[in-house]
């Protein structure tokens, strides 16, 4: 079996359509971010990890509903309640302010639940309390982590390839992160520490894909006659040559992630969703964003090939004479 072997898809010709697709998704994401800002004042749905606050997960023995629990926790003034995976499990998130004691907030919630429900009828299965100060620090750390890995990987690519490959990879990665963040905002996925880990993994995965395509472009360029070939055709050929690998690897990874999504339980579901999204976006962008970006850079800022430069310089000299 050899899927997509010797395929001759005109990926590069499709690039303008791809720009439109990316633009639309990006616009949707920005709308999502705007809606979040208007409705809640923050651009993402930050979880307690980043805002500080208390999360209490309660598992009930008996069937109970959101509204019953909301009633038990103070009706209209109740903190946000969400159902968690299984039927009778709920997550309550309560904000805290600088003054309040983390412990007391969580204990209060448990105590309020105990008033309405039988003490033996429920179990607190998870409790997360993060002080506002720690939340702020974690936000800073996450931003630093994303920024640092961004800079370092690109530095690495710039050294291993040529500078234009590095710049093209920057554009593709930035594209992926922006689209992911936009979609996360649009669907109000909770941003927690594991979500940040997932975003960073996407960054790694997308780069991985881009590198494999770029590696082939670099190889074809350095083959005899590579520099003289039409860059559009060379890049398109390189994408097609790596297509079997791209499909097989993305397919295998998606198969694993899907089994994780379906069978892995509610705790890692948001995490897995972000990864699946990332694999799809990463594969798409290495073909439709990274490679066209490479060509655009080359078209606008000329070639990095020394022989080519030499030829141009000679031509200029000849013209001057």
């Amino acid at each position: 079996m050899w899927l997509f072997h010797k395929s001759k898809y005109e990926f590069i010709r499709l690039r303008r359509k791809a720009y439109v697709v990316s633009g639309v998704v990006l616009a949707l994401g920005i709308t999502g971010i705007g809606m979040n800002v208007v409705r809640t004042g923050t651009w993402q749905n930050y979880g307690v990890d980043f805002t500080g606050g208390v999360l209490v997960q309660i598992r009930f023995d008996q069937e109970t509903s959101d509204s019953d629990l909301r009633e038990a926790l103070g009706g209209v003034n109740a903190p946000p309640i969400t159902r968690f995976g299984q039927e009778n499990e709920f997550v309550v998130r309560a904000p805290i302010d600088e003054e309040s004691n983390l412990d007391e907030v969580a204990d209060d919630i448990a105590a309020q639940v105990a008033v309405t429900y039988d003490r033996d009828g429920f179990e607190i299965v998870r409790r997360e309390s993060v002080g506002a100060k720690v939340g702020e620090e974690l936000q800073g750390q996450a931003a630093m982590a994303i920024l640092f890995s961004f800079v370092l990987t690109l530095l690495y690519i710039a050294i291993r390839f040529e500078i234009r490959f590095g710049v093209a990879a920057i554009i593709a990665t930035a594209h992926d992160i922006l689209i992911t963040l936009g979609l996360l905002a649009l669907f109000r996925v909770e941003i927690s520490l594991p979500t940040v880990a997932a975003i960073l993994t996407i960054l790694g995965y997308s780069l991985n894909d881009t590198i494999v395509v770029f590696d082939r472009i670099r190889e074809n360029l350095n083959k005899r006659g590579g520099r003289r070939e039409d860059p559009y055709r060379l890049v398109n050929r390189s994408i097609n040559e790596t297509l079997p690998r791209t499909v097989l690897t993305s397919g295998t990874t998606l198969a694993v992630l899907l089994s994780l999504l379906i069978l892995g339980g509610a705790v890692i579901r948001p995490f897995t969703l972000v990864l699946i999204l990332g694999v799809l976006i990463g594969t798409y962008s290495s073909i439709f964003i990274a490679s066209p970006a490479l060509l655009e850079i080359q078209r606008r800022y000329g070639t990095a090939d020394p022989r080519e430069k030499e030829r141009k310089r000679a031509a200029r000299r000849a013209a001057a004479v």
């Binding site: 079996m1 050899w2 072997h5 598992r59 983390l102 412990d103 969580a106 179990e123 607190i124 299965v125 998870r126 409790r127 997360e128 309390s129 993060v130 100060k133 720690v134 750390q141 982590a145 640092f148 890995s149 370092l152 990987t153 690495y156 690519i157 291993r160 520490l193 594991p194 880990a197 960073l200 993994t201 960054l203 790694g204 995965y205 780069l207 991985n208 590198i211 494999v212 590696d215 082939r216 190889e219 790596t242 690998r245 097989l248 690897t249 295998t252 990874t253 198969a255 694993v256 992630l257 089994s259 994780l260 069978l263 892995g264 339980g265 705790v267 890692i268 995490f271 897995t272 990864l275």
Partner: protein, 557 residues
Amino acid sequence: MLKSFRGRIVVIVLAVGICGYYLWARDLKLGLDLQGGMHLVLEIDDPDGTFTAERRDSLTEQALKILRTRIDEFGVEEPIIQKRGSDRIIVELAGLDDDDRAKEIINRQAFLEWKLALPVTEVQDALPRLDRAIVTALGEDSLRALGAETRVQQADELSPELLLFPETGDTARAGDTVVTEPAPETEAAADTVAQDEEEDENLLRPFTGLLLTGGFDDKGRMVSYNVDEANVEKATMYLALEEFQRALPRNVSLQWSMDPLAQGGRFYRELYVLQEDAFLTGDQLQDASATRDQQFNQPEVLFELNRRGGRIFEQVTTIHEKERIAIVLDEEVVSAPVVEGRIRNRGSIKMRGAQMAEAADLALVLRAGALPVPLRIMEERTVGPSLGQDSIDQGQIAGIVGIVLVIAIMMLYYRAAGVLAVVALGIYLLLVLGGLSALDATLTLPGIAGLILSIGMAVDANVLIFERIREELEARRAPRTAVDEGFGNAVSAIVDANITTLITGLILFQFGTGPVRGFAVTLCIGIVASFFSAMYVTRTLFLMYLSGKRGSDPISV
């Protein structure tokens, strides 16, 4: 032919052996999210921000030592107690059955003091001044909005046996108010109150208005006020005011009892008038143990003082017979027994209405010593054992299904070479799990995700290699050359892809905490193992596969 890969097999067997040994010798540690447990981040409490960096550092070190002793005695298996940065402490306890108790033991400062209980007459003169201080500090309007008292409470409104204002213990009758019938000893103070009253019927008495008759010592002196439980919060707020503290007489402090007192169907807390300077502190403690007192079968903590402490205690108890001595734990009065005779170095702390476990825990923290300053919980993550078990079960099923899918895809797609890849992946998994236990890392839920992701990377490396071999075969190269060229051509892509992911992993490890760190560790180990498995193990397996064939035989890729 065998010679060329004998060395390789030795290396692989060695790597597998070492990792297999670690995996077998020390079980893979599961993270708190998988097996249930508590993760706490504590910080030195420095509300005024006055500590210097060095001081914070050394206080944290001291606190760390004491926490280690306490948790060791509490008996949790393999606790993690680490300093992070200069002023944070991380405590991770797995498999707890009582989180609250553990937290109490960790978070309690356990600063023990013995203070003399003074008669309330020591503060009586200051009461109007204290009221005025509160009014100045908070403003009349906001106090009225709070519903502050404008008069001294009528005792009969609350409970007949509680008198409304400090008497010295003998002649007070129920229903009396100080304003109308001051007791002789408190006349001076009451006069001031009365005068103010004349000036303004509506005068605010935010503090005095909350005070009720409290407890007495054996000399017949009242040493504490009772405050209705409903008013405790308000009173505590007043007590914390800087203006209030300044208006207090010198060397006097007001301190709450730890537990509420039930009387006549209502709950009160006692506000003790104490000599501010403690004559003895927990430093002088030699030993503490929990027991039940023989009379009422109530839990109590027996303590034993060292020689110096014993001398001080003997002196004080001789002079102050029939008076009360307050035992103050973290600014709250645990008990205030009357001195019935001279005591040397042994005594007991009676715990009103406490469970035996509480007494045992108090004895434990007293033995381990007090924290130099209180600690503040900055972050807490607790996962109950049942949720952890669910996650393990689900993670396992998902992992197995995922791996079976990968195996199926590889074997279907690449046939014989796919089988080699699956063997290499098996070795890869063993290396990762063994590497994790060798590094003493814990496997967390995001860790499992990282693991599955790095399986994806390992598969990718194999796919890259096999695709290259296919291309070479297609270009009519001899199988052996095709394999060599295939590996050679795939190297650059694999190296670059692995290094960029490794960079991300290392950065995550550096910046991440808790669960994210677990993810980063598995990812990093996974990448190293995947590189080894693809470039070395798969290659060796291919060499073995080829060695059974003649040069021109076709290979199954």
